[in-house]
Each structure stands twice: as structure tokens, then as C-alpha cells.
């Protein structure tokens, strides 16, 4: 195999790969190997839609919250974004602190439905 071929593939071994019930011998790409696993959506998980900074937390653990109630202010993309509770319930856990910089899709607050 020439050098270019080696470069373009994530793994050099031929592996079993199933497409509609048939098993093929093939190589996989780096991009395929790095793909993200799908996770079941949890309505009580408040995740960041944008990377940014936590400015102000408005709730405390064990506090009851109503759907639409303000949980925190998140500074992202030059905006002070209001993060509100997606459901009515109790604040189960807070995973951020004020001033913390967070990436996209970061689990910030968990709400337990009540």
C-alpha cells in the first residue's frame, strides 16, 4: 500500500462492517471513528446552546421551580441570555458556578420533574 492510502484511513486494519444485514471487509475513516454517540434527550437537563460565561445563578439546589422560571443568565455571543426552566420541578443539581466559562452542550443544571 502506498503512503497516501495509509494517510487517508483512520485505522489500517480491514474490519467487519455491516450494511443492511451484510458484513463487508473495509477500513474506517478518522471522521467515522470520531463520530458522537447519540444520547436520549432528557427534558430536565438544562444544557448550554452556545459557548459562553455564566453571569448570574438565580436558583439554589432543592429549590422548586416552575416551567419558564429564570434559572440563570448566560453571556454568549454578545448577548445576556436568559436560561429558563424547561419543566416544573425541583433543582436537583447545579454543575456551574458564576463566572465559569462553558462550552456548547454543557450540562448546567438538572431539574427533577415534580
Amino acid at each position: 500500500m502506498d503512503k497516501q492510502n495509509e494517510n487517508q484511513n483512520g485505522n489500517q486494519e480491514f474490519v467487519d462492517f455491516i450494511v443492511t444485514a451484510r458484513k463487508y471487509k473495509t477500513k474506517l475513516t478518522n471522521k467515522y471513528l470520531a463520530r458522537q454517540k447519540w444520547e436520549q434527550f432528557n427534558p430536565g437537563y438544562v444544557k448550554s446552546f452556545l459557548p459562553g460565561t455564566v453571569i448570574k445563578l438565580k436558583v439554589k439546589p432543592k429549590q422548586k421551580v416552575k416551567e419558564g422560571e429564570l434559572l440563570m443568565i448566560h453571556d454568549a455571543m454578545k448577548m445576556l441570555n436568559r436560561v429558563v426552566s424547561p419543566i416544573t420541578g425541583v433543582v436537583k443539581a447545579i454543575h456551574v458556578t458564576e463566572g465559569q466559562k462553558i462550552p456548547k452542550n454543557f450540562l448546567m443544571i438538572e431539574i427533577e420533574p415534580k
Binding site: V19, T26, K101
Partner: protein, 515 residues
């Protein structure tokens, strides 16, 4: 001395100064970064002594922020015309030694002027990018400059070939000119392309990533697909550009230049390329090399979505575009990236009168939540759209598997293929035998004493009945079942027959492809 002679000497002196761009110190810095200067790049890329420069004496007219005291020679960009293998091209190269190659109003005007020239004279435009970005002192004028370049890139699209060469930073808004052009060239350790740089990402996210890992040559060649050609050095990059120019026409009313036909030189026998076991992989590029002139296959986007192969070759001295599923990578499935890659290439070929030859061996679409959620439906549709829309000669050779939606997508008769050939090893069916048997004989398999044994039998039965080219041939969907060794001659024949192909489409402003 006559006054004309004096004037000539004065001109020469003036040129020497201006042609030095940012001056010797800045040039030393450019060299220290492992880069050639803008002028060296143009000279190396074009035919010897063919470059004629335009707008050498253009200067900016900015008064704010002390800019009135600054002279920026050529306003940081060199523009002009020249030839590659004798064919005229328009070219511009940003000069990083002049204010970091930053783009101001006059810099942009020089670029748009040469772009207008290229479009009017119907010849390719090559843009060499090496710029720190917008010239902040010029404010909204710099943005206007970018906008006017993007507008011209779009208007010229499909009329003249547009080539972008990234030989330095190309960040922020600047990235959208290359993104709108047909072919982007990158060089290891030199090219850097991104919308938001590592500094901002670190400030906002706290994520520490190097420029190379964020938007280096390799990233764009392999992961994002923004780049089409990847080289280890500027010299190698220029050779790639010249080769590309040799394969494509100068505009959409012309055909690519014909060269002297040559027989394939590929050593392996074409009958021996495909393994007898249908599930075993092989390199489909061997099939291409076995049929094209001189076995010279010029691959495009080699590292990106390697499960589909695209590129140029010649048949009887004339350029053809080649599209082939690659069983060696991801079993040759269609997925979001490979669909995108193939569709764009097909549209380029169609715009520039290049016949398309498709080699098919694919098991279907890539299964998985990530693919479905990434929009494999929308992306996969691009392939259908591109093949259906194309009016250049379209030829398909089915080598082995042609299952389900993939059979339709890969330039089937039903999408308007002009010639459909199949090797005797072709398996044209609604899905793979295992999947089909599981559905058709579900009851028998479930009720059997030994379900596995019955399943194996039924799979065998299905393979014998349907996993061949003859069912499709009996309906006229395949024109000829051919021996592999006949492939080149029949392709040459098909291209000859379709020389005067005429196919019209209903008049419209433009279609709405699933971008």
C-alpha cells in the same frame, strides 16, 4: 539624455521600489515563516516571463488612524494575467509583506477588477490568499470589498473555472471567497483557514487548540472537505494547479484541450482487480487506472470522504470526470460527506462540458443515528439532483454491488444515464441478499427448526435469482453486460457516440438543489 529616456529610467526606479512590496525586512520575515513572496509565487506558477502586472501603482486613500502617512505598495495585492501551458489565466496574489496582506478598499478593487476581466475574457481566475484579514483602519470599506469579491465569485460560478490557493492565513470573512470557488489548494504548515481563530476560542471556551489543529491544511483536506488538493510544499502545490489547469477548459463554452491519446500502462489485469468474494474490498482506483489514458488519474479531494473517489482522467486524449464508490473505505457507502463531494464534482463537470464516467460498487447508505440526524436524506438527494440535472454524456459501469437507493443514485438509467454497462459480477437488487432474504422469507425462517440453516439457504436462493445483472438487463435498464477487458473500448465507443449529444431542459431561472 532625452526627457523620454529620463522618464523611462524614473519608471524603472519606481517599479523596483514598488515591486519590493513591504520591503526587505518584511520579506525576510515571510521567508522565515517558510513562505515564498507573492511575486515569487506568481512567477513560479505561471509560464516563464508570461506575467503581466496590472495596477502596480494603486494606493489607498485612507486618512484615519494615521493611515495618511503610510504607503502600502500595490495596496497589498499583486494582480495580472499570464499563461499556464500557454493558456491565459487571470491571477492575484495577496502580499503578506504589505500590512499583513490586509484587505482594504483599493486592495479589493484590484481583485474585483481582475475578476471582472477574467469573466469578460472568459478565462480561469486563480486567487492566492495570504492575508491577516480585513484592514481594520478601513472599517466598513473592507467589508464592502469582501462582499464585492463574493458577489463576483458567485456570478462567475459555472462560467469560468475559479481556483483558490491558501498560502498563509485566510480567516474570518476572507474564507468565503475560496469557499465559493471550484477548487481550493492547501499546503501543510502554511495554510490556515477558520472563521474564529484559536485566540477567540480560548477566551470564550477555554479550549486550547493550535491554528494547525483548528484549521490547518490537513483538517480542511480530510475533515471539513473545504480543500480539494493537499500538498507538502508550495512547489508541489503549483504542480497540482498546473495539472488541474491542463484537465479543464478555460470557460463553459469550450472543451478541455485534447492531448495525444495514450494507452493505459497499468500492469494488473482488469479481470483480476475485483475479488471473487463479494464482501472483500479492493481499491477501485485500480479499475480507473486500468481504463484511462496512460493510467493517469488525477484525484480530487483524495483525503476527504474517501468512501467515494472523484477526479479527472483522459479517454482518447479528452478529459473525463470519474466518480467511483470505494469499497476499501466504509465499504463504499454513500453518506453525508461522500454525497456532498460527488454532487459538487458532477456539477463542475456538467458546467464545463466534461463527460462523466461512474464506476459503481456500493452496498447502500451508511446506517446510524449520527447520519440520519446529520441529514443524510438531504445530502444524499444532492447526488440524485446533480446526476439528473447533468446534460453532458453520462456513462455508468456497474462493477459489483448496486443495491437499493444507491443503485438509483449512482447515475442509473432512471436518472438519465446515456450508457449503462454492467460486469458479469454485478449484483443489482433492491437490497443486499441477507437483508432481502430476512424480509421475504421471514415466516419460513422463523418457523424452521433450524432458522440459521434455512436463512442461509434462502440467502443462497436469493443470490442465485437476483444478485446478478440479468434481471435489470432483461428490463432494458442495463444496455450491455460486458467483460471487464472490454470496458475501455466500450467507454471510448460510448464517448464517441455521444460526441454531439444534445439534451435540453425546461427553461428556468435556476433549480433549487438541496444545498
Amino acid at each position: 539624455m532625452t526627457s523620454l529616456k529620463k522618464n523611462i529610467l524614473a519608471l524603472r526606479e519606481k517599479k523596483v521600489i514598488v515591486e519590493l512590496g513591504g520591503g526587505e525586512e518584511a520579506i525576510e520575515k515571510q521567508v522565515a515563516m517558510g513562505k515564498l513572496t507573492a511575486r515569487q509565487r506568481i512567477v513560479q506558477l505561471l509560464d516563464k516571463d508570461s506575467f503581466h502586472e496590472y495596477d502596480l501603482f494603486v494606493e489607498h486613500g485612507v486618512r484615519d488612524f494615521g493611515m495618511d502617512k503610510k504607503v502600502l505598495y500595490g495596496d497589498g495585492v499583486i494582480t495580472g494575467t499570464g499563461t499556464i501551458f500557454g493558456a491565459p489565466v487571470c491571477i492575484y496574489a495577496q502580499d503578506f509583506t504589505v500590512a499583513g496582506g490586509s484587505l482594504g478598499l483599493m486592495h479589493a478593487r484590484k481583485i474585483t477588477k481582475i475578476m471582472d476581466h477574467a469573466l469578460k475574457m472568459k478565462m480561469p481566475i486563480i486567487g492566492i490568499n495570504d492575508s491577516g484579514g480585513a484592514r481594520i483602519q478601513e472599517g466598513v470599506s473592507a467589508l464592502a470589498g469582501y462582499g464585492e469579491i463574493f458577489y463576483r465569485n458567485t456570478i462567475a460560478s459555472g462560467v469560468i473555472p475559479q481556483i483558490s490557493v491558501i498560502l498563509g492565513p485566510c480567516a474570518g470573512g476572507a474564507v468565503y471567497s475560496p469557499a465559493l470557488t471550484d477548487f481550493v489548494f492547501v499546503v501543510e504548515n502554511i495554510s490556515k483557514m477558520f472563521i474564529t481563530g484559536p485566540n477567540v476560542i480560548k477566551t470564550v471556551l477555554g479550549e486550547d487548540i493550535s491554528m494547525e489543529d483548528l484549521g490547518g491544511a490537513r483538517v480542511h483536506a480530510e475533515i471539513t472537505g473545504n480543500a480539494h488538493f493537499y500538498a507538502q510544499s508550495e512547489a508541489e502545490c503549483f504542480e497540482q494547479i498546473k495539472k488541474l489547469i491542463s484537465f479543464i477548459p478555460c470557460n463553459n463554452t469550450q472543451k478541455a484541450k485534447k492531448i495525444e491519446p495514450k494507452k493505459p500502462t497499468f500492469k494488473k489485469k482488469i479481470d483480476d482487480i475485483i475479488p471473487s468474494e463479494a464482501k472483500e474490498p479492493y481499491d477501485v482506483r485500480d479499475v480507473i487506472r486500468a481504463v484511462v489514458d496512460n493510467s493517469d488519474f488525477f484525484e480530487v479531494q483524495e483525503l476527504f470522504a474517501a468512501n467515494i473517489i472523484i477526479g479527472f482522467g483522459r479517454m482518447n486524449g479528452e478529459t473525463v470526470g470519474l466518480v467511483a464508490n470505494q469499497p476499501m473505505v466504509l465499504a463504499g457507502v454513500l453518506d453525508c460527506d461522500s454525497s456532498d463531494k460527488a454532487a459538487r464534482f458532477i456539477r463542475f463537470c456538467d458546467s464545463f462540458n466534461i463527460p462523466i464516467i461512474t464506476f459503481e460498487d456500493m452496498p447502500g447508505y451508511l446506517p446510524g443515528v449520527d447520519q440520519e440526524h446529520a441529514g443524510v436524506i438531504r445530502h444524499g438527494a444532492k447526488v440524485l439532483y446533480a446526476y439528473s440535472e447533468a446534460t453532458v454524456p453520462k456513462i455508468t459501469v456497474i462493477l459489483r454491488k448496486a443495491y437499493g437507493g444507491g443503485y438509483i443514485a449512482m447515475n442509473s438509467r432512471h436518472l438519465g444515464a446515456d450508457f449503462m454497462f454492467a460486469w458479469p459480477s454485478a449484483e443489482i437488487a433492491v437490497m443486499g441478499p441477507e437483508g432481502a432474504a430476512n424480509i421475504i422469507f421471514r415466516k419460513e425462517i422463523m418457523e424452521a427448526e433450524d432458522p440459521n440453516k434455512v436463512r442461509q439457504e434462502k440467502v443462497k436462493e436469493y443470490i442465485e435469482k437476483f444478485a446478478n445483472p440479468y434481471v435489470a438487463a432483461s428490463k432494458g435498464y442495463i444496455d450491455s453486460v460486458i467483460e471487464p477487458s472490454e470496458t475501455r473500448n466500450l467507454l471510448l465507443h460510448a464517448l464517441d457516440v455521444s460526441k454531439n449529444k444534445e439534451e435540453t431542459r425546461p427553461e428556468k431561472k435556476h433549480g433549487i438543489p438541496p444545498f
